[in-house]
């Protein structure tokens, strides 16, 4: 995995590079090894839990591109997560019912068909939302993205064809040719590959000319405009790519759960994705993974201990924001050289 910051930063002590690289490698290895071990020892529950963690992390990787690298604080990424989920759900619904979608399009349970559609749909939605929202900035941007997500949420809630608030079940996991997606470990590996690809894409993207422009748009958009590059198209494209990654994660998440409902579109979920990104470390490649691991870990562990677990979750989050400024990834791996 290439580091998004330039090789030119020769000042960076090599020891620190080693530490960050080592921690990152270890994280990926653990994420891969634990579910495989759980599967071998007959604990499929942990495989499923790891899939859930992986997909939430992937959704947060998408958000991190907009929020961390692009400086666009989107409080509405649940819209893309949920839309991706609904694409998977609606495709499966029509494939199962043998009814056409919107009058003519046949349903499909082939993931190779559903994934591109999910990403396309999310990309288009983000294009529309981004084009309006990026006219604003600061708190206005936070709030207008929230407003758009709420619109989608209420729409899904009251649209009866696909279950409304009850949601839409996916009776059989959608299929990938040649693989048994029902098998927990197989499905986990699909998710894992998705996460790694999303992270690799982010890393590659941020090292490219586009990434350089996006970084400048975040740090100093006047400088970018003065150089002759309009910040808004750069941001908009980043916002769209970000939404597509989150949407793909949502499509997989719906398949994992066998279920999609408006709760995947709720503002709580947008908030949780933000929390995960911040918890892990904003604008850090591995931040979303660490954040998701912590969040899911706390939800699982505390939830079993006390019915007031959300109180302790809140206290923990508060502690992190007040005392661990760089996110947990910063604590583990040191300061990002040019964050």
């Amino acid at each position: 995995m290439t580091d998004p910051t330039p090789a030119l930063s020769a000042r960076r002590p090599s020891r620190r590079l080693g530490r960050q690289g080592l921690v990152q490698l270890l994280l990926l290895a653990l994420l891969l090894a634990l579910p495989v071990a759980a599967d071998l020892t007959g604990h499929p529950y942990y495989v499923t839990l790891a899939s859930r963690l992986t997909l939430i992390a992937m959704a947060a990787v998408g958000l991190n591109l907009a929020l961390g690298y692009g400086g666009m604080i989107s409080f509405g990424h649940a819209a893309y997560f949920g839309l991706g989920g609904y694409v998977a759900g609606i495709g499966a619904f029509h494939a199962f019912d043998m009814t056409p979608f919107l009058g003519g399009i046949p349903g499909s349970d082939n993931l190779l068909v559903l994934w591109p559609i999910a990403m396309l749909a999310c990309g288009l939605l983000a294009l529309a939302i981004g084009a309006v929202s990026l006219r604003t900035s600061g708190v206005y941007f936070i709030m207008i993205t929230l407003a758009f997500a709420q619109m989608v949420y209420y729409f899904a809630n009251s649209w009866p064809t696909y279950g409304g608030q009850d949601g839409l079940p996916i009776y059989l996991r959608n299929q990938l040719p040649g693989l048994d997606t029902q098998e927990p470990l197989t499905f986990f590996l699909i998710c894992f590959v998705g996460l790694v690809l999303a992270m690799a894409l982010t890393s590659r993207l941020m090292g490219s000319r586009f990434g350089a422009a996006l970084t400048m748009a975040r740090l100093n958009d006047t400088r970018l405009a003065t150089a002759g590059i309009s910040p808004t198209p750069i941001r908009l494209v980043a916002f769209v790519i970000s939404a597509m990654i989150t949407g793909l994660a949502g499509a997989l998440y719906a398949d994992l759960n066998g279920f999609v409902s408006p709760s995947m579109l709720s503002w709580h979920l947008s908030g949780e994705l933000m929390v995960i990104v911040i918890l892990g470390g904003v604008g850090r490649l591995y931040g979303p993974l660490v954040g998701a691991a912590l969040f899911i870990g706390m939800e699982t562990l505390l939830g079993g201990l006390t019915e007031y677990w959300q109180l302790f979750l809140g206290l923990t989050l508060l502690g992190v924001v007040l005392f661990a400024r760089q996110g947990v990834m910063g604590w583990l791996a040191g300061r990002e050289p040019h964050a």
């Binding site: 530490r19 529950y45 499923t48 839990l49 809630n157 699982t300 562990l301």
Partner: protein, 381 residues
Amino acid sequence: MKQIARLGAGLLLAAGIATAHAEEDVRIGMITTLSGGGSHLGVDVRDAFLLAIEQSGREDIEVLVQDDARKPDLARSLANEFLQRDRVDIMTGIIWSNLAMAVVPSVVRQGTFYLSPNAGPSDLAGRMCHQNYFNVAYQNDNLHGAMGAWMREQGYQNPIILAPNYPAGTDALAGFKHLFEGEVAGELYTQLGQTDYAAEIAQIRASDADSLFFFLPGGMGISFMKQWAGSGVELPVFGAAFSFDEVLIKAVGEAAVGARNTSLWAHDLDNATNHAFVESFREAYGRTPTLYAAQGFDTANLILAALESAHPDDQDAFREALREADFDSVRGEFRFGPNHHPIQDVYVREVVMGEDGEPTNRLLGIAVEEIQDIYYPDCKM
């Protein structure tokens, strides 16, 4: 390396290890809503369920309880935890239809029994019914339909009806109209989670309706009733027990008095099982049970009764025993239809001011005898 050690420790902690349990023991997994809005329903189901298990004196039953925080994906994950890690024999506890739809189909398909202590979405009674799924509470339409029938009998001709715009809401109004069989003065839909009903109340006032039927569960019902009382509109009010449980009407106060509601149970229902239940629940928890508690209590007793004749590992025998429903229900007669949903009497209650100055429900009589849902013909079991 210090950081790596920290990380490793954290993940080890996260792993946790399932404890083994003896072969003949019975393990029940309960996923219910214990935190956030609407958690009093889950709390009552849990408390009554545990009370019944405790009263049975059986040491070989282990009940695991988890909070779903009313999130479908969390409920789904907890269900996996119960199925794959704890290997429970029976699951129960879900309050909300949308969570039930997320969890139940996959649980029963994987060969585990699920007994619903509250939610009864129509799909699970009809085309998605399953041999391992038993609903011990009601099908969602039961109480609304029963109120429709009763209001027709009472001579109301022109009710205006109101519900939130979501599947359970539209189902409720459809169920009401199905058994009311007449024309209604109007149908109003509110937003889910809406808190202010001034606009709807003004519309009701402006209509020529002779009565009001509404379905607004939980906090929505409280808000509506308070505002209704303040509005001075004088139509008689009807609803289902979901807006008039003992907890809710205490929060509404005097404003609830006079409202009539259908319920499958009443705390003053006259049978020995019920007397004992209400008394022991009050003693154990210091409050009057709601119908959710009654449903939780019945669910536990149904399981206990079935366990007398078979262990869940013997799936066919245990299923047969559940189907028999040979237990003393707090609501009197209880049996299952072909789709494993109850065929039961539905009662009418009226909210009255109790002797302690707090409103309470009083049984008026039976609204409809032996009501059955309308979805069972779709059920191919």
